[in-house]
Symmetry: C2
Subunit: 402 residues, 2 copies
Amino acid sequence: MRPFTNLIPYEEALKILLDNVKPVERWEKVSLEDALHRVLAEDIISPINVPPFSRAAEDGYAVRAEDTYGAGQYSPRELQSIGEINTGEYKPLKIKKGECVRIATGAMLPEGADAVVRAEDTEDNEGMVKIYRPVHPGFDVAPVGEDIKKGEKIFTKGTYLTPSKIGALAAMGIIEIKVYEKPKVAVLPSGDELVKPGDSLPPGKIYDVNTYTIASVIRENGGVPVIFPYVMDSPADIEEKLLKAMKYDLIVFSGGSSVGDRDLLIDVVSKHAKILFHGVQIKPGKPTWCAVGKRMILGMPGFPTSCLSDSYQFLAPALRKMAKLPPKDRKTIKARMSRRIVSTLGRTQFFTVRIKDNVAYPAYKTSGAITSMANSDGYIIIPHNVDIVERNEEVTVYLWGD
Amino acid sequence: MRPFTNLIPYEEALKILLDNVKPVERWEKVSLEDALHRVLAEDIISPINVPPFSRAAEDGYAVRAEDTYGAGQYSPRELQSIGEINTGEYKPLKIKKGECVRIATGAMLPEGADAVVRAEDTEDNEGMVKIYRPVHPGFDVAPVGEDIKKGEKIFTKGTYLTPSKIGALAAMGIIEIKVYEKPKVAVLPSGDELVKPGDSLPPGKIYDVNTYTIASVIRENGGVPVIFPYVMDSPADIEEKLLKAMKYDLIVFSGGSSVGDRDLLIDVVSKHAKILFHGVQIKPGKPTWCAVGKRMILGMPGFPTSCLSDSYQFLAPALRKMAKLPPKDRKTIKARMSRRIVSTLGRTQFFTVRIKDNVAYPAYKTSGAITSMANSDGYIIIPHNVDIVERNEEVTVYLWGD
């Protein structure tokens, strides 16, 4: 048996992984309807002014501001209305001294006008309009290009598209954009004991969990999972699937990484890639490994909870870098620990907890219990140099969220 | 012109909306691969034990614990190995007094065995195995049903499916589940001035923004947008589209709700639904209205930033209730205000800001500027009874996230 000889700290392992994964630079065109949460692969230069014309910001009358000077409650100016412009309409009206045009909010200002008098400050008497309030040039007018100027660079390559950014693209009339392709991740759960959920379960076998949890975490972090058939514990099968997986952007194994004489995976991978680390000072997740060849390869434990914890601690940040997504802003809360927790010096522990009334209760049921994780609200991180978290001690809980 | 006579506070408006929207009770069957972020429409009773059999938690030898009693570094017990069981294998082995079986982590314990001695505490000499350490019954054994018991209720109806919950379903062998259907939301932007992005822009027209922002917020909150053609400013067109929209779970109008003589929307809607409120003490979003008929109808302003702000403040929480999703856990940070902000007493203001070095800068560029919102990191809420936020005052910023 080969022991883990070179366990490295979590921070170092994560850094090695992140330093070695490459962002996907391929792009594709998508319609604005499909662009939410994607990442721009081009700078966006506005092809138009927004608004595309000077428009009224209120319902009222478009005027030449100077025609209103001196107007007051008891000394209205009178202007001749020469027409009406509704929102969305174009009329080739032109106002001259002493004239005005009835205008709706958002409608295009007629030529000659430089301000709007609100309807409530006017009185229309068969086309002769009393103006009770003076306005300065530009009053209640949204000038052409006020929001976005034609030719202005609005977004740069790498911008993550949220609803408001989608809105800005629409405002510029852009319906199709270049976005980076999502990283494709080959998911290779290994183990002769695995059976696909839904199939019948022969004695000695268990249902595959990791395919589904890994695929879920990949989807939550901007990737596309490509699910492989189970990898059997034979060098030929491992090699065949590894080589097939090399065409994807990242390769993720789960299982087959414990230290034991049936451990073949690392040996086969070593023939095609350089092992960067094997063994991390974390709990769960000690047997985690990482290799780089034609592609990056991440090896996660077969134990479902260890695999899922690894998916959050390694796979998610690696994938977000590959997908050029901003880091996940996981919400944290402060809580008091319900009881003393003993950890192992030299290992960073990710410890799942449930929260009730600001108290953190261990969610741990038994090693590898998927239900402990499924019923937890988040986890605390017990640093490698801490062996005891005292009862009532304040802890930071990272909520799963999503 | 009809003034807003009955502006109501934000909290009251939101409560009216939430009290009136109904969760969607229709369900559909989905495969586990498509179940992420969906909501269970059935209780889940486990059809099996997890693990389905007692299994070894370490590589080593399956033994009868009592055969190891008294073993020590200098007084090993010797047991006869009668075979080997690998992970995923079933062998009808049965161990008797004085016997053991070589076993791999995760493999099924043979009949008669009740504990595992780790490999490092043994020495195999051609089938005669020296045991250097005593173990108690159950040592390094994960007993059948330890994690999940057959017949146990694991999840209840209404559970939101995260990666770990997907994993627990897989562990039980469940590949297809009932989830609630996503609410279908009819999106009806109104206004004669709207042009679809990508089309050419005649004078007086502007590109439609609200369809894309509303649809994005709907997708982020578990709904399916159903985009309608633009509603023209005519009673016949409004009525025709309103009636068609009645088959969806929620109807959202944007635009056409300002107080002006071209305001037809409310009149037409009133014929088919009861107006619950029209006018809210918020900025932006004052002309927001809500009606209930065969379906709930939400009316949001046409101004893109007002519409988007409303989408977050009204549409998102309503939709999450309809989709039975947990409330959005928006991350907040504390920041100091870069300069004094003046607000309007009597109106709750949602004020967008950019964050740099823990200082909140107003993102506001100009009323309705979509770029202000697109370039903001989040917003602060200035309560209705506060008119001034001082420079350097601490504010809570709600980050857009996602």
